[in-house]
Each structure stands twice: as structure tokens, then as C-alpha cells.
């Protein structure tokens, strides 16, 4: 039996999506099954079972998971302890002396490790790496025993300045391993050898907090897969959009914090680039939020860190996702000053919009779309029937009457303000970062975004929108597409004009060696390998750094060390691109080295997803849709449209997982891959 099927599984809050690709035939199939809670492995296995009868034919299963994210958000990680430098047990709790909200001074913070499980030991390293006080290993052993007695399932060693010299941390780690009954023992310099103790400690502590939970979940999944005859590779999507082997995921679960959404962005990048548009902005409209990411030249923008919640900082490279509180369930209201507001309060998916009839009486963005006829009340996503009358009443009462608008005007106003907020998020990731939006295409995915795609063209000046053929399973598809990627960081802290480039070369070599070993160990076939090196640099005195991409030659695994002049030139280019003004005669500093080792996985042909045969371009029906005024719009079955079909607005395209609105003046064309390309009619 040859193993020829690749399976991507994305477990979301409501649905588990499965994308199965037969590599031999190029045929892809998709399935949606309900997510099971609290143990997601039930839905996971059901979803795969719905696609493949015999798991021995499966070459790889790639998983985008929210297990880690949920454990962090719901504070359901393990009871853990930390052992830290004398004088510093409160770093996790003191944070960077911030507060949850600028105004109001309310709210407090409980770190995931309570104070009585944060133990101190004598040890100290100075900023230049000098060993000031060797670690007291008897104290470490005693602290470890105390934490075990207290029922801790994992322990992290967090020492000040360990990024500059990990010796004390490593010694403590070895001592703890000898007494700790499981593998959940870690130290901060292994997880993030980067300067800034709060960010490093927080990342390492949250990692330890997730280890027992996530590794247990993944082990259960893997065992169940093996039991059913699965003999291929089991891979996990990381927040950086790459995949990692399951044992790496068990050791570094904090890297899965944005696993699910990252896979979606990876798929979006691939779909768009294949369609000829390497510059896109993705928009995932959910029940409570709108998540935006920018992809330039086929590369998703990466962020260095994120806050999962107040005080819960995770610093690992991750796909940059900007979130605003304007989703389908966001509530529209008029404030005491007479201004129409959308959110931040949301009815989410439960109780959801007023029209769902589950008890919410305040109008949402989705209610406005329903009242305006843009969503078919008889065929909504997820089934059932919608209560249009109730949605009208809610819009009248909460928006129409206070503003003196008719029901339709009020609903249009809600959509316009929601669109403006979504456009603001798109501007934030494009214009604010120096990208010209006219160069970018907008790609909505998830269920709700395609209703607002045309508005984004008008509001932000984007050239076009691309609606993928299966926008509802984008994340599952991304699992199958994602490359294997390992990120490394090391704080260097040297002046550029006196940098030890040989030492820097040796550090890059070490990262490359480790990364390549991890690629080998995963047992995956790669189409190619790549190494990306960047330096975090700044002028002396600045604390914020610029990421400076550094071209580095790697031949047969050997790294050629970079030269100082090359580094200086690369800095000037990166700094100018970011800020415009160079500082004449400014002295520059290299703070961190970042290396990514990438194993490129073979890509499948998206044309296999394209519609086959003649299909039909005849509207299924017509419906009254409000677009400034009531108009009779043609309703199409989107999946029946053949390649090359061109549908002018006003029209509504429907399919099981989304609804697409084509406004007057816009035209939608089905491309060779089954994507719908939405442009202004005169530009087409």
C-alpha cells in the first residue's frame, strides 16, 4: 500500500475542518464535522474517518490546533513552578509595569504561576556574561522537591541574563532532570536566548504551563492514529506558519499559540500567489472579530511577539495578525453623544445575532446584512431559518429611532460603520507600514468576509478581491501546504564596527546545524531547503530594533560568515525603508541574531480544485437586496459557475460556507483555479 494522501486538520471553536489531498491523482476533498469538547481528539478522528477509510494510505497528517490557545485564554494549563534568580521571583507578576486599560485604573492580574510556586535560588550572571555567583545546586534540588511536593507537573528555570551565559541555567536544568519524574523541565535560554527578562520568562513559563496539556493531547492523537494503522508523519502547525514535528511541539507548545489562524494565512498566500497576486491582505471575519494579515511578495508578515491576554506575553516569531472587535456578532449601538458604534460588545455565535432567535435582542452586523437581503434568511450558513422581522425591530429600536433613520437606512449605516472599522484595520497593516494598498488584493476567508469584500475595494483603494473556492476550509488547506520551519534567536549585543563576525558565523552555523538535524529527524520529504538570516539592529541608544535581512551563503551545510561592511549596508537599507531618515554618523549595534531553517514541502496543484465541466451561469433565483435602494439582484450557486464565468453586480453568490456580494459597478470572474476575482467593472 502506498501512502499517498495528505491530510490537513484544523480544529476551530465550532467546526473541525479536514482537507484531504490524494497526491497521486491531485484530487482534494473537504469535510466539516463538529468540534468535540473538551477533548478535541474525538472530532479530529471523526473528521479524518469521514475522508479516509484506511489510514495506512495516509502519508502525513498536519494539524492546526487551538488546544494551546484555548488553554492560555481559559487558564486551563497545568499547575507549574518556576525556579529563579534570588531577588527576582516577581518578574512574571510585575510585568513591564503596564496596566490592562489606559483609562479607568481597574483590573488586576494573576500570573499563571502563583507566588508560592515561584522559588528563588542563589545564582547570578552579569549582563556581559560574567558568572557573578555560580548556581547553588543544593538549593535547586530542594526547590525542585518543594515544587513536586506542591503537585507541580512542570518546572521552568528562569535566570536573569541567561541569554548572555546559559551556564547556570543549564546546570540547574541537569540537576532538576535527575529528580523530576517527567520530561516537562525547561530553562529560559533554551526556549528564547534573547535579552528582556519579562518577555523571556513569560514565554518560558507559558510554555511550561502548556507542556503537560498539549503534549498529552498530541500523544493521545498520535496513539489513536497509529492504532488505526497510520504509519506516516504527524506534524503540527506553528504560529510562524511553518510546521514542526510532533515531538518538537510537545517540547515547545507555546509555538502553537496561533497555530490555526497561521495555517489559514499560509493557504491564502499560496492561493493568491498561484492566481498571480503575490501581494494580498487577508481578512478573516468571525463572530466577534476581524483578523487581518498582510502578505507581501508571497511572504506573510511576521511579528516578534504577541500578548495572548493582559500580561501573558509570548515572544516567538508568529504570523502577524491584527485583530479588531468587529465581527458578524458585534453589536451596533448609539452612544450618549449620538455616535453610532460597532462593538466591542459581541453576541458572538451564541446567542448570536437577533435573527438567530436565541435570546439576543440587540442588533449585530449580521442582522444588518440579513435585513438588507444580503444573507438569505431561508438558507443561512449552518442551516435553519432566520427571523428577519426580529432583526428589523432590533435595528429600529437601537439604531434607527435614536438617529432618525429608516430601518434600511439604519442597517446600511451599521454596515458602513463596520466596513469603516474593517478598512481601518486594513489601513493599519498596509498604509501604516508603508505599503500602497492599490498593489494589494483583499482575500476574505472564513464565513462572513466575502459580503464586505467590495466595500474594502472602495474604502481602502485595493485593486481587487479574491474569494478562494473553499473559503471556509482555508486553514485546513494551509496545513497541507505549509513548509517545515524552525526559528532560532540569540542575543549578540555587539557594535557593528567591532563585531566578531567569525563568532556570528559560528552562531549561524550552530542554528543551521540544529535546524537541519530537526528537518532530518522529522522524516519528511522536502522539495528544497532554505536558510533565512536576519539581525535585529539599532543605532546605539535606541531600544527598538529594525529587522535587517542578511544574505548568507550556505553551501553543503557550511555557512560563510558575513562581513561587517555587508552588515552595515544591509542596516542602512532596512532602516531607510522603515523610517525614511538615517542618522548621519550614527553608531549601530547588533542586538539579536535570528535564523530560520526551512524545509520546503512539495506543493499540490490548485487547479485540481477548479470547477470541472460546463457548469451553469444562469442565476438560481433573484432576490431583493438593499444597496442604497432595493434592487432585484441575481442569485447564483457559486460552486456551479464554470471557469471564465463573469458575473456583473448586483449579484449574490451563495455556497455552503460563505455568501459573496457583488455590488453594482463590480464584476466577479471565475479564474482557472476556481477563485472568484472581484474588480471594478470599468477596470475589467
Amino acid at each position: 500500500m502506498t501512502r499517498q494522501t495528505m491530510i490537513g486538520v484544523d480544529v476551530g471553536g465550532t467546526f473541525t475542518d479536514v482537507f484531504a489531498l490524494d497526491e497521486a491523482t491531485g484530487q482534494a476533498r473537504v469535510a466539516k464535522v463538529p468540534t468535540t469538547r473538551p477533548d478535541q481528539s474525538g472530532g479530529f478522528l471523526n473528521g479524518i474517518g469521514a475522508q479516509v477509510a484506511d489510514l495506512s494510505t495516509v502519508a502525513s497528517v498536519v494539524h492546526g490546533t487551538t488546544a494551546g490557545t484555548n488553554a492560555l485564554l481559559e487558564r486551563k494549563g497545568a499547575r507549574i513552578g518556576i525556579i529563579t534568580t534570588a531577588g527576582f521571583r516577581d518578574v512574571l507578576e510585575m510585568r513591564r509595569r503596564d496596566r490592562p486599560r489606559t483609562w479607568g485604573l481597574r483590573g488586576d492580574f494573576d500570573p499563571v504561576v502563583p507566588r508560592d510556586l515561584r522559588l528563588e535560588v542563589p545564582e547570578r550572571v552579569l549582563a556581559d556574561g560574567t558568572l557573578h555567583t555560580p548556581v547553588d545546586l543544593d538549593a535547586v534540588r530542594a526547590a525542585g522537591r518543594t515544587l513536586l511536593d506542591q503537585g507541580c507537573a512542570a518546572v521552568a528555570v528562569l535566570f536573569v541574563n541567561a541569554y548572555a551565559n546559559p551556564e547556570n541555567e543549564r546546570a540547574a536544568l541537569a540537576t532538576l532532570r535527575a529528580i523530576w519524574p517527567n520530561a516537562h523541565v525547561s530553562c529560559s535560554s533554551d526556549i528564547l536566548p534573547e535579552i528582556r527578562e519579562f518577555e523571556r520568562f513569560s514565554t518560558a513559563a507559558l510554555n511550561a504551563y502548556l507542556q503537560p496539556e498539549v503534549s498529552g493531547y498530541l500523544a493521545r492523537l498520535e496513539a489513536a492514529l497509529r492504532e488505526r494503522g497510520f504509519g506516516g508523519e504527524f506534524l503540527i502547525v506553528q504560529s510562524n506558519g511553518g510546521v514542526m514535528a510532533v515531538d518538537t511541539a510537545c517540547r515547545l507548545p507555546v509555538r502553537t499559540a496561533l497555530s490555526g489562524p497561521a495555517a489559514g494565512v499560509i493557504a491564502a498566500a499560496y492561493i493568491a500567489e498561484t492566481a498571480g497576486f503575490p501581494d494580498i491582505i487577508t481578512g478573516d471575519m468571525g463572530g466577534t472579530s476581524f483578523d487581518v494579515s498582510l502578505i507581501a511578495g508571497g511572504q506573510p508578515a511576521l511579528a516578534a511577539q504577541t500578548s495572548i491576554d493582559f500580561g501573558m506575553v509570548v515572544r516567538t516569531p508568529m504570523i502577524e495578525i491584527t485583530t479588531i472587535g468587529a465581527g458578524g456578532g458585534s453589536i451596533a449601538w448609539v452612544d450618549k453623544g449620538g455616535l453610532l458604534m460597532i462593538g466591542p460588545e459581541s453576541a458572538g455565535s451564541d446567542p448570536g445575532p437577533v435573527a438567530y432567535g436565541r435570546g439576543n435582542t440587540r442588533p449585530t452586523v449580521t442582522d444588518a446584512n440579513i435585513v438588507l437581503g444580503r444573507i438569505d434568511p431561508d438558507r443561512p450558513i449552518g442551516g435553519g431559518r432566520l427571523d428577519v422581522a426580529a432583526a428589523r425591530v432590533a435595528i429600529d429600536r437601537h439604531v434607527g429611532q435614536p438617529l432618525g433613520l429608516s430601518t434600511e437606512e439604519a442597517a446600511e449605516a451599521i454596515i458602513r460603520v463596520a466596513n469603516a472599522r474593517m478598512a481601518g484595520a486594513i489601513r493599519l497593516v498596509s498604509i501604516e507600514r508603508g505599503h500602497d494598498p492599490a498593489r494589494f488584493a483583499f482575500m476574505p476567508f472564513g464565513g462572513g468576509g466575502a459580503l464586505h469584500a467590495g466595500a474594502m475595494l472602495a474604502e481602502v483603494g485595493l485593486a481587487r478581491a479574491i474569494v478562494p473556492r473553499y473559503p471556509g476550509v482555508t486553514s485546513a488547506m494551509g496545513c497541507v501546504i505549509a513548509d517545515m520551519r524552525q526559528d532560532f534567536v540569540q542575543t549578540v549585543n555587539e557594535m557593528t564596527d567591532s563585531a566578531d563576525t567569525g563568532g556570528l558565523g559560528a552562531l549561524i552555523q550552530d542554528h543551521v546545524d540544529q535546524g537541519m538535524r530537526m528537518l532530518e529527524a522529522a522524516g519528511v520529504t522536502f522539495a528544497g531547503r532554505a536558510v533565512e538570516v536576519a539581525l535585529d539592529m539599532a543605532y546605539l541608544g535606541q531600544t527598538h530594533t529594525v529587522a535587517v535581512p542578511l544574505p548568507v551563503t550556505v553551501q553543503e551545510g557550511r555557512v560563510t560568515p558575513p562581513e561587517r561592511a555587508q552588515i552595515a549596508t544591509a542596516f542602512d537599507a532596512a532602516y531607510t525603508a522603515t523610517y525614511g531618515r538615517l542618522l548621519p554618523g550614527g553608531v549601530t549595534r547588533i542586538l539579536n541574531l535570528r535564523t530560520a531553517v526551512i524545509g520546503q514541502r512539495p506543493k499540490f496543484d490548485l487547479a485540481s480544485l477548479a470547477p470541472q465541466g460546463e457548469g451553469t451561469t444562469t442565476p438560481r433565483a433573484t432576490r431583493r437586496v438593499h444597496l442604497g435602494a432595493w434592487v432585484e439582484a441575481a442569485i447564483y450557486d457559486r460552486l456551479s459557475l464554470p471557469v471564465g464565468a463573469a458575473i456583473p453586480g448586483p449579484a449574490v453568490l451563495e455556497q455552503p460556507d460563505t455568501t459573496i456580494l457583488i455590488e453594482p459597478g463590480l464584476i466577479g470572474r471565475v479564474d482557472a483555479y476556481g477563485n472568484l476575482i472581484l474588480t471594478r467593472a470599468e477596470a475589467a
Partner: protein, 562 residues
């Protein structure tokens, strides 16, 4: 011109985004950590004729929201007097008596022209690392005139018709201990203003100047309606509150700050009569700063209010002449933060009587500007300057936040590792301070302990702090927090400053330490109403010693221990 509510809602977001983006540009490109890390800066759009705040960035320092209007007005007056305003001009100044706050804050004001007329002003303010004067970092508690605090720059043109006046730049850079840092921050502020102009150009091209102007007016009106509605919902009445500053850094005498708060229908008046006269030492503030402090307090009590001048319209503020709150040139103002924090504390204490569920108990109430400075072995000068944190007050909802930032600020603190990598120091402690929070049904947040050891041959330390004699107060029956405490080593012995939390030129030798222990926040509600299990938990966690628990809460918690 009236504006439809939908366009208004759209434009409100667009304009706020412009100010936000100017903030972000400066935070990323500034050189000194007080801006880059602590976000001690702000940007906004201001009225063409009055200078009133139209739109302010969300991430800028709260106190600047109100105070920048005075800075812009100073430039408007200067331009009118000189009569030579031209497109492409940018003014720069740090004079605190006409622009508010203190001399460390460098303000750039750029009149924004549309079709040959000033449409509005764009402004940028940032806290520079050093502006000369007697003390590195400019927090000089012994100053009796501004001249001992820093170099004073009145509003002058930094750019004329788009041309940088290098003379002005040269004068500024010659008057700072850290010229590279100053040059970097200046560049960052210019970048932020350039960006504001670009974005505003695009906005006016898209919507037209009349629509945008109408939107700005409508947003101010809306802010006024919002605060009137909030105030009208509170009971009518008159309440008084007072608190004290420890001293002015010169003489050891407490300084009262008093407020009488009156609510009548939708109008609110705040009368600060009875507050101490202007002082010899640098805890004075200008009238503009005082009004801005009122704004900060009001916005904390009603967090939903927008950041524009409409909020101030229904407020009647009375500030006595020649008082601590209306000092005149050249009275020193370097420690303005301490005085505005005390103003906010008394306003909170007044509201705590009027509407106890709307306020939090007092936060730690001092900025604790601590600097260590000296020269390295190779002669290079170093200045480590930072503000330190403390606890927030308890509220009706829950306990106060441990180790927060000051209510006038959103500043974060630099990491120990960044400080140790940049300066010859070693932190020997960076911890929460047990027993520092005020007791209450909802206790205050904890203050902190910072202990720093010198790794060079010698250095000097400077401290400008408060709350060493008068502790942060509780609300609704909650208890006081602990006092601020500072000590330094000299020849092996520990000493405390004679003026408690203010001192200059403390000599330190290698291996000697300074130790700062900051107040927590006041408690909220009667301590006997705190659940014994929560008291017991605080003892187990070491937030509270058993002795303090017995004293503040009685011994009931001991039964809950098992």
C-alpha cells in the same frame, strides 16, 4: 455645515488613526527609552484658532491630552504677534510656563495649511533624556528657578517654509548632555509630523475640508453631551477632599492640595482654593498643567469619554492665583508629576464621597524619578534615568493592580536586562513589596522594591519622589497604603534622605547600593468585609505578613487557613 451621523462615525475613526500612527512612528524611531519604551510622548490635531484638542492618539501619555492645547495656543499667539507664519513652518519649545508640564518635554507644533489657510495644528511632544541644567535627567529637587532645571527654549521656528534652521538645532544640541539622543528624538518627532501631514492631505482630498471641519466640531459637541449625561446621572451636592505633598525639596513643610467638588445637574465645578501657595522648590505647576490634570482624573472616572476639548466645556475649574497650581516664570516645575498626581488623588477622594462605585482608591501617587549617573573608566558619561512603579487602588470590582504605572502615564518600565546591559549597575532585588497595599474589602495592589548596586568606581544618585510622609488613601472605608521609602549605602551603613524622597548628589562607591520601596494602592471598602480566605491566601502568597493581617483584618483569617 451639518454632517450625517454615518460619515461622522467613519471620520472619527480615521482621524484617531492619524494621531495613533504619529504616536507609533515616534515610539519606534525615538532614541531615548523614556519615549521608546515608556511612551512618554503624544500627538494630536488641534484647533486652528483656539488650539483646543480636536483629536489625540490613544497611546500617548494621558496628561498630554489636556496640556497640549496650551502648547499649541502659545504657538498661535507667538505667530500672531510675529505676523510671519508661512506654510512649512514648525515651531519648537520646551518652556513649561507657557506650554505646561516640565522642561524635559520638547514640543513641536506644525500649523497645517489647506488652500493657503491654517486648517488645524499638528503637534508632537516627547520627553527628552537630558536638557542640561544642574541634574542629569532634569529632575532637580533643589531647583528654585527653572534655570537650575534645564535649558529653557521659548517657541522658535525650527523650520521656516520647510527649511530646517540648523542654528536652532545647534543651540539645542550644545545644551544637552546627550546630543545624539536629542538628535535622534528630534528626527523621530519630525518624522511623526511629516506623516501626519501626509495622512491629513489624503483625508481632506477624500472628504473635503468642510466635511472634516464639520466632523471635528460635531465630535467636540458629542464629547460635551457625553460628559453632561455622565455628570447628570450623579447626585447633586458638594464634597471636599484634601491631601498633602511631603515637601517642596527645599524646606521640610507639608503642602496641602485641596478641592471642593460640586455637582449641580449636568454641571461640575472643581475649586482648588486652599491649596498651598507657589513654592520655592520645583513642585509647582502652571495653570495649563493643572487643568490637564483635572481632565485626566475625569477621564479615569468616566473612561468612555473621548479625548477632545469638548469634555472640558461643562467644567468650572477654579485655581487660586499664585498657588502651587498656577506658578509663574521662573518658578521651577521639574517635579510637576508629583503635584498632578496629588490633584488626581484629591479629585478621586472627592468623587469617592459622591459616587463611591465610580472611583478607585488612590494609586501609589509618586513617579519616583531616580537617576544614577557617572563616568566610565574610559571617560564616557552615563545617565540611567527611570520612573518606578507602585500599586493601584482597589475598586468596587476588585483588588488593585500590583506594580502598575502612574495614572498620568501609560509608561512601561525598561527590563532589568536592558538596564544592566546599558549601564554599570546590578539589580539585587526587583520584587513586590509585602504589606505595601492598603487593606480593604478589595485591597490595593502592591508596590515594589528595587535595589541597585553600582559596578563602577563611583557615581551619583538623584531621587525625586513623594508619598514619604503622607500615604495613598483608601476609598469607601478602605485603608491607607505604605509610605514611599528610600535608602542608600555610604561606607557600609544605610542612610535615608533628610527630605525623605528627594535628594541630589548622593555619592556612591563601587559595591554600594540604593534601595527604593514604593507604596501600594489604597484599599476599597471596609477591611472586615474581606473574605477571610482571601486574607489567608495573601498571607500564603507573601503579599501580606501574618502580623499585618492580624492588625488590619483581625484574626478571623487564621480560621480560614486550614
Amino acid at each position: 455645515m451639518t454632517i450625517d451621523p454615518i460619515t461622522l462615525a467613519v471620520l472619527a475613526g480615521r482621524m484617531e488613526q492619524i494621531a495613533d500612527e504619529m504616536d507609533a512612528t515616534l515610539f519606534r524611531s525615538a532614541f531615548n527609552p523614556i519615549i521608546a519604551e515608556a511612551h512618554d510622548a503624544s500627538h494630536g490635531l488641534y484647533h486652528a484658532e483656539t488650539g483646543e484638542t480636536l483629536v489625540q492618539g490613544k497611546s500617548g501619555l494621558p496628561i498630554f491630552v489636556g496640556v497640549m492645547a496650551f502648547a499649541v495656543k502659545a504657538v498661535i499667539d507667538k505667530a500672531a504677534a510675529d505676523g510671519d507664519l508661512a506654510e512649512g513652518d514648525i515651531y519648537i519649545f520646551n518652556d513649561a510656563h507657557i506650554g505646561g508640564t516640565h522642561l524635559s518635554d520638547m514640543r513641536l507644533v506644525r500649523p497645517y495649511f489647506h488652500q493657503g489657510r491654517v486648517f488645524c495644528h499638528l503637534a508632537s511632544v516627547g520627553h527628552w533624556h537630558d536638557m542640561g541644567g544642574a541634574v542629569p535627567g532634569n529632575y532637580n529637587p533643589q531647583a528654585t528657578e527653572v534655570f537650575q532645571e534645564a535649558f529653557v527654549l521659548p517657541p522658535v521656528k525650527l523650520m521656516r517654509g520647510g527649511v530646517l534652521q540648523q542654528d536652532v538645532v545647534d543651540i539645542i544640541l550644545r545644551n544637552t548632555r546627550l546630543p545624539a539622543s536629542a538628535q535622534g528624538d528630534l528626527n523621530g518627532q519630525l518624522n511623526a509630523l511629516d506623516l501626519g501631514v501626509k495622512r491629513l492631505d489624503a483625508l481632506l482630498a477624500e472628504y473635503g475640508a468642510e466635511t472634516v471641519r464639520a466632523a471635528l466640531e460635531a465630535l467636540s459637541d458629542r464629547a460635551e453631551r457625553l460628559i453632561r449625561a455622565e455628570v447628570a446621572a450623579l447626585p447633586d451636592g458638594r464634597w471636599q477632599a484634601e491631601d498633602f505633598l511631603d515637601n517642596d525639596g527645599i524646606s521640610d513643610a507639608p503642602l496641602p492640595v485641596r478641592v471642593a467638588l460640586q455637582i449641580k445637574g449636568d454641571r461640575l465645578s472643581l475649586d482648588f482654593t486652599g491649596t498651598a501657595p507657589a513654592t520655592a522648590g520645583p513642585v509647582n505647576i502652571s495653570r495649563g498643567t493643572a487643568e490637564a490634570a483635572v481632565y485626566v482624573a475625569i477621564k479615569h472616572i468616566f473612561p468612555g469619554l473621548p479625548a477632545n476639548a469638548g469634555v472640558m466645556r461643562p467644567l468650572a475649574i477654579t485655581i487660586p492665583e499664585r498657588s502651587l497650581l498656577s506658578a509663574e516664570f521662573p518658578a521651577p516645575t521639574g517635579g510637576y508629576t508629583e503635584t498632578i498626581l496629588r490633584m488626581i488623588d484629591v479629585i478621586f477622594a472627592g468623587f469617592a464621597q459622591a459616587a463611591p462605585d465610580r472611583v478607585v482608591a488612590n494609586a501609589y501617587g509618586t513617579i519616583n524619578a531616580l537617576s544614577l549617573a557617572g563616568h566610565r573608566g574610559d571617560g564616557r558619561r552615563w545617565v540611567m534615568f527611570s520612573f518606578y512603579g507602585g500599586g493601584h487602588g482597589g475598586s468596587a470590582e476588585g483588588d488593585g493592580l500590583n506594580h502598575g504605572n502612574a495614572p498620568i502615564s501609560t509608561a512601561t518600565i525598561p527590563p532589568v536586562e536592558i538596564l544592566e546591559a546599558a549601564y554599570p549597575v546590578r539589580f539585587t532585588q526587583w520584587a513586590l513589596r509585602p504589606d505595601s497595599a492598603g487593606a480593604g474589602m478589595h485591597r490595593g495592589g502592591l508596590g515594589a522594591v528595587y535595589e541597585i548596586e553600582l559596578l563602577e568606581e563611583s557615581a551619583q544618585a538623584f531621587l525625586f519622589g513623594e508619598r514619604g510622609c503622607f500615604a495613598p488613601k483608601g476609598a469607601a472605608g478602605g485603608g491607607k497604603a505604605a509610605l514611599n521609602r528610600f535608602g542608600f549605602q555610604n561606607g557600609g551603613d544605610w542612610h535615608a534622605p533628610p527630605l525623605v524622597s528627594k535628594m541630589v548628589g548622593i555619592g556612591l562607591k563601587r559595591g554600594e547600593r540604593v534601595r527604593l520601596e514604593t507604596p501600594g494602592g489604597g484599599g476599597y471598602g471596609l477591611p472586615e468585609n474581606r473574605a477571610p480566605a482571601l486574607v489567608a491566601r495573601d498571607v500564603v502568597m507573601g503579599y501580606l505578613t501574618a502580623e499585618a493581617a492580624d492588625r488590619d483584618y483581625g484574626i478571623a483569617w487564621r480560621e480560614g487557613q486550614q
